[in-house]
Structure formats: structure tokens, C-alpha cells
Symmetry: C2
Subunit: 343 residues, 2 copies
DNA sequence: TTGGGGTACTAAACCGCTCTAGTTGCCGGA
DNA sequence: TCCGGCAACTAGAGCGGTTTAGTACCCCAA
């Protein structure tokens, strides 16, 4: 026989549908004895709520949405993304909330999906990632009126809540560290300039260069791919006055850069130091292992989930959470310029 | 004002709810003129179907489920997984079907989620991954009665459809290649022995060793982590008669193995050749780059999605799709066993 | 003229659950 | 004895669609 409904339970126990509903939802209106009997029978019949029926009455969908506008084929490349997803899952599954995931072509399609899922009550909230410099999604999501947490900032996310890491401070700490080692020519292989965090990192490098008197502090934008990361590295290392340290905006690019250095017979860290934003297995198992800004993306994802659940519980709230600033994990890929020849 | 319903449209156009439903779903029962008028008004009012209401009536959920029983924190490590997810997305989003994703602790919880989502009509089908040797999930899913595609095989997935790659054939091709280069001592750093595909690879290595007269053809099981991959490599390279070639069950472990070799001053590929199952950026950007079995995981994911959509469309069907056998991409990490030749 | 059959449409049941507005029965107090 | 009040429970109206049964009307053949 097919799934039992509360009507079946009601008939069997000999009470009304309403009584069963009250009992199952733990609300007053039934005696303890009756409640126990109802729960017992519900269990025996292996009853489960029909989420659609609940949703019709205006209840929660018990799911949140994550829509990503990237070519699906590049998603897999980013350990960052996978970790974030894991963290989100961890935070959500604690409250048995599922994640509705969709990859679309562009921001326009993304906004369409927001509208659709919201009005179909498919989800209770959204997580928005890849905050752009002037981002049309912000306005769209505000209009849609569904609780949302933006991953990125600070600022520029309108009335939406956000969770952000201080990219500026992180970059400053990297440059300070390199400067303290004695580096004067620090280059930066950046990510997509359309991203807000890329801009903040580039600006931080410029500011620090001025403050510390560094020269040739240049940022080369890329698309985050290993190919462009390698190309940028090749360009930098081919310069007459090549940088003594390179900061990469992702672990994949740093690893690609390391490969290029080896191929060009530029020794790491003796002749060039390498630092990666974003830590992962990649930086640990590379040889030499790569000094990286470690930011526990898993925890970040979980935090995003928690904030979102809070905002869903009380839509009037507006949270703006700053996460721990990435911590620099020093490994074998950095050293004072021109020194060290321990190999 | 809140979302318009078909009743609102009906009132505005001056017809009944039923007529509106017929018009919006493109079924007979209304004249072309009326249909056009209804569609026009629906568009003006920016109407969207309420998925919960549809689901109540027994319609599709337009979503499929993927439940993974792994500690969420290890998910991100596997490029394989991320690629698979991307491919799934690509296949599903072509028909605007969303992916309901959940990470749970163990197989038991996984089965609970299958039961739950199925009876709540949250999804139209499931994708099952990580096929184990004697897998209780198979029976559970058959009982649940929701269209499912198992990633893995061949065989041992009951009445469920499946998509599988020939791991045996793949391993044979690797060993043949190594034997042809002159290798006689081939080791295998395997994955979790509970996985069916791990078993098949181990058996294939044993069979091939017998056929080709290889010695010391040993498989060391691991948990797929870079740590255990490194440890296994260290153990193998410390042997008195160490292997001249090592096959790794994942790209991450191969990269970790490469690191260990460098650290132990065992030259690759001069003293030991390295081959990875599963290709990704990692194997390409490593230095030296790693010879790998490339299997286009993205395409695999898309194929799974397509098969699932087919089975959902016609639940009576049973598909069993064998994907292209992984192709060996030779890079810098393999060569004839030159130095340290001591047979 | 009748009647059969097709088309275009309406009314209402139905899906499974929630929630409000009763209704019943019992108790205690005046 | 009557009545108010409360706890326990019932009846039934939604929620937003789909779908079935039924109706009104028209056309055409007998």
C-alpha cells in the first residue's frame, strides 16, 4: 500500500485529522495519552510528512538554494569551492536542511533562477557567491525578498546579510611578511578583476607597496585557470628585473607557477618565493610545499550556513559577519631573496 | 501584492481555474484564442507555478537527489568528485532539473534520507555513488521504488540502472604499458578496499602480474587521503627491492607520492615511474607531470544525468551503460626502468 | 425534427497537511 | 441548579494547483 496520510492515522486511532496534526507537531490541543497513542500508530504505519503538502500551507521548504554562474566544467578545479560546499552541507545538515544546487551560464540566468525558486517556494533562502564589483544580483535578490547571505564584502551587498573575510588585511600580512624577509620586488598573479575580492587584494598590494617602498609591485589579472596562472608566471620570470616573490590568488595557480619556475630552472625559494592565497592539499603536497594563506574554507561554509539559518528564522535580522582573517602558513616555498641555498 | 495564482488569472480573464490550467499546460480543452489570452494575462501578472501545489497533485519534483556518505570535510579534496558534480549539473540543467545534495555520516543515514526524500516527493530520482562490495543501499533503493542510477559496476546493482567504467580493462592497459617499458616490479597504492572498483583494480593487477610474469605485484590499500598515499609510498620506496613503478588509485595520492619520492631523493621517472588513475589539473601541473588514466569525469557525470532522466521518464526501463574506458595519457613521470636496474 | 458527437468550457473534487472556529463534556463555584 | 470556563477534540476551510465529471452549444446526418 502507498504512503499513509494523517487521515489514515486518524481513522486507525479513532480521532480527527486535526488531532493527529496537533499531536505530530507537538502543539497543545490533545491529551498526553492521545498524543502518545497517535505517535505510536504513526510510527507503526511508518508515516512521514509530505513536504509538498506542508509547503502548500506556507511552511518551510527545508532547503536553501545555491546558484552558481560559471561554466560547469571549471567548477571542479577549485578546491576552494568544493570545501565551501562541504562546509555549507555540514552547517545545513545539522538542521536537516538540504541544499538545492544549480549551475547556470550567466548572471542573468542566475537571477531568473532566484525568481523562480523563490516564487515556487522551493527554498527558504539563498547563498550568493562570487560577489562582483557592481553586482546586479544584489538588487534582484532584495526584490525577490527571500533571506540571503552574500559571501563576500565588506559592503556593497545592500540590505542582504553577509559573511566575509578581510582580503585586504590578508594581503597586507603577506606583503609585510615578504618585506620582512627582505623582498623588494613583489608581484601578484591575481584572479578575475571583476570580483570584488580581487580588487581589494590588488588595492592592498598597491597601498602596501607605497607604504613599504617596494618597487614593481604589479598585479597581473587572470581567469583563475592554471593556464593563465602559468602564463603570467612565465611573463614575470622572463622580465629583466624579475620579481623575487610572487603572490598567487589561488592554490591552483600557485602550483602552476611552481611548475613554470621548475621548467625555467628558477629555483624556489632561492631565486623566487611563492605564496598562495587559499590553502589546500595542493599546497601541502607540492614540492617544495607552498607557503599559503590558510582560511579554513570548510569553516567558512559552515558559518555561511549558520548565518543563513538565522536569517531564515528571523528575516528581520541583518547580519554582517567577519570571519577570521586568513592565517599565513609558512612552508618551504618562501625564503629571503638571494639567500638560502640549503639544497 | 503576493504571488498571483491561477484563480487570479481566471478571474481576470473571466474563465474558470480549470481552463487556465489547461491553457498553461498546453493541453486540449481551450480554444486557441482563449489560450492566447490566458497566457498573455499570466505573463502580465508574472505568474509562476507553485511547485509544492503541483507536487501535491503527484507531479514531478523536477529535482534529483544525490546523497553522499562521507565526512563532509574530505569531499573537497577529490577533484574527481567536483568534476562529477559539474557533469551532473550540466546534464540536469539542460532540462532545468535541480540537484538536491546532502552529505551524511554513514550509509545508514544515507538510506534514511532516500526513504525520506522519496516519500516526501522531494525528488524524482537518485544518483548513487561509491558502490561498495556488498551494498545495503541497493536493496533499500529498490524497495523505495524511485528511479535510480548507480555509478559503478558492472553488476551487483540489482534492478537499478547503472553507468560504469571498466576499471579492470583500465588497470590492464596501465600494467601492459609499464610491462612494455620493461618494468617487472609494479606496485599499486589502492583506495578503500570496501569499494567495488578498488577490488576490481586489485584483482586486475594480480591477474596481469601472473600473465606477464611480474614479481612483487602488491596492492596497498589506503583511505584515498594524501597522508596514507604518502605513507604507502614511503613504505614501498623503503623496501630492499623497491618497485620500479607505482600505480596510484587517485591523482591526489599520486601527487603525494611524487612528493615523497622527491623527499627520499628517488628520481622520477629514472628510478621509479608513477601513474595515476584519474586525471585532473593536478597531474598536469605537477613537476614532473604525471602519466594518468584520463576519464573525463565531467562527461561521466553528464552521462549519469542523462541516463537518470531517461529512467525517470520511463521507470520501466533498465539501462546499463558502459562508459569509455579511461585512456592513458603519457607524461613525464613514466619511463623505462633505467637506473637502479637490479633484476 | 431528433439525436449523436465533438468542442469549449465550468464546477467541484482531490492531493496531504495546517489551522481556525466551533462543539462537547466535565468541573467548580454561586 | 445553572452557568462560566477550560481542556480535548471535531469539522471543515483553505493552500494552489490538476483532473474528472458534467454542461452548454453547435454542426451535421438521418
Amino acid at each position: 500500500m502507498s504512503r499513509p496520510t494523517i487521515a489514515d492515522i486518524a481513522k486507525r486511532v479513532g480521532v480527527s485529522k486535526g488531532a493527529v496534526s496537533f499531536a505530530l507537531n507537538g502543539r497543545p490541543g490533545v491529551s498526553e495519552a492521545t498524543r502518545a497513542r497517535i505517535l505510536q500508530v504513526a510510527k507503526e504505519m511508518n508515516w512521514r510528512p509530505h513536504s509538498a503538502a506542508r509547503a502548500l500551507g506556507g511552511a518551510r521548504a527545508e532547503a536553501v538554494g545555491l546558484v552558481i554562474a560559471r561554466p560547469a566544467s571549471t567548477l571542479g578545479v577549485e578546491p576552494f569551492f568544493a570545501h565551501l560546499l562541504s562546509g555549507l552541507q555540514a552547517g545545513l545538515s545539522a538542521q536537516s536542511v538540504a541544499l538545492h544546487l544549480l549551475v547556470v551560464e550567466d548572471a542573468e540566468a542566475e537571477i531568473e533562477v532566484y525568481r523562480g525558486w523563490a516564487s515556487e517556494h522551493r527554498v527558504d533562502g539563498f547563498v550568493m557567491v562570487d560577489l562582483k564589483v557592481r553586482d546586479p544580483r544584489i538588487e534582484a535578490l532584495e526584490e525577490v525578498g527571500v533571506p540571503t547571505v552574500v559571501l563576500g564584502g565588506p559592503g556593497r551587498h545592500g540590505s542582504l546579510s553577509s559573511v566575509w573575510a578581510d582580503d585586504r588585511e590578508a594581503m597586507l600580512s603577506v606583503v609585510d611578511y615578504l618585506a620582512a624577509l627582505g623582498h623588494r620586488r613583489v608581484a601578484h598573479v591575481a584572479g578575475l578583476p571583476a570580483f570584488r575580492h580581487t580588487q581589494r587584494r590588488m588595492r592592498a598590494l598597491r597601498d602596501s607597496a607605497r607604504r613599504l617602498g617596494l618597487v614593481d609591485a604589479v598585479s597581473l589579472p587572470t581567469d583563475f585557470s592554471d593556464a593563465e596562472g602559468a602564463a603570467a608566471t612565465r611573463a614575470l620570470l622572463s622580465r629583466a628585473r624579475r620579481p623575487t616573490a610572487i603572490v598567487y590568488d589561488s592554490d591552483v595557480m600557485a602550483l602552476a607557477g611552481l611548475g613554470v619556475a621548475a621548467e625555467m630552472r628558477v629555483r624556489v625559494p632561492d631565486e623566487v618565493s611563492i605564496v598562495a592565497f587559499d590553502d589546500s592539499v595542493l599546497t601541502r603536497i607540492a614540492h617544495p610545499s607552498i607557503t599559503a594563506l590558510s582560511r579554513d574554507t570548510f569553516a567558512l561554509g559552515r558559518q555561511v550556513a549558520e548565518v543563513l539559518l538565522e536569517v531564515i528564522a528571523d528575516p528581520a535580522r541583518h547580519l554582517d559577519v567577519k570571519t577570521a582573517t586568513p592565517r599565513l602558513v609558512v612552508r618551504e616555498s618562501t625564503a629571503a631573496p638571494g639567500l638560502g641555498r640549503d639544497d
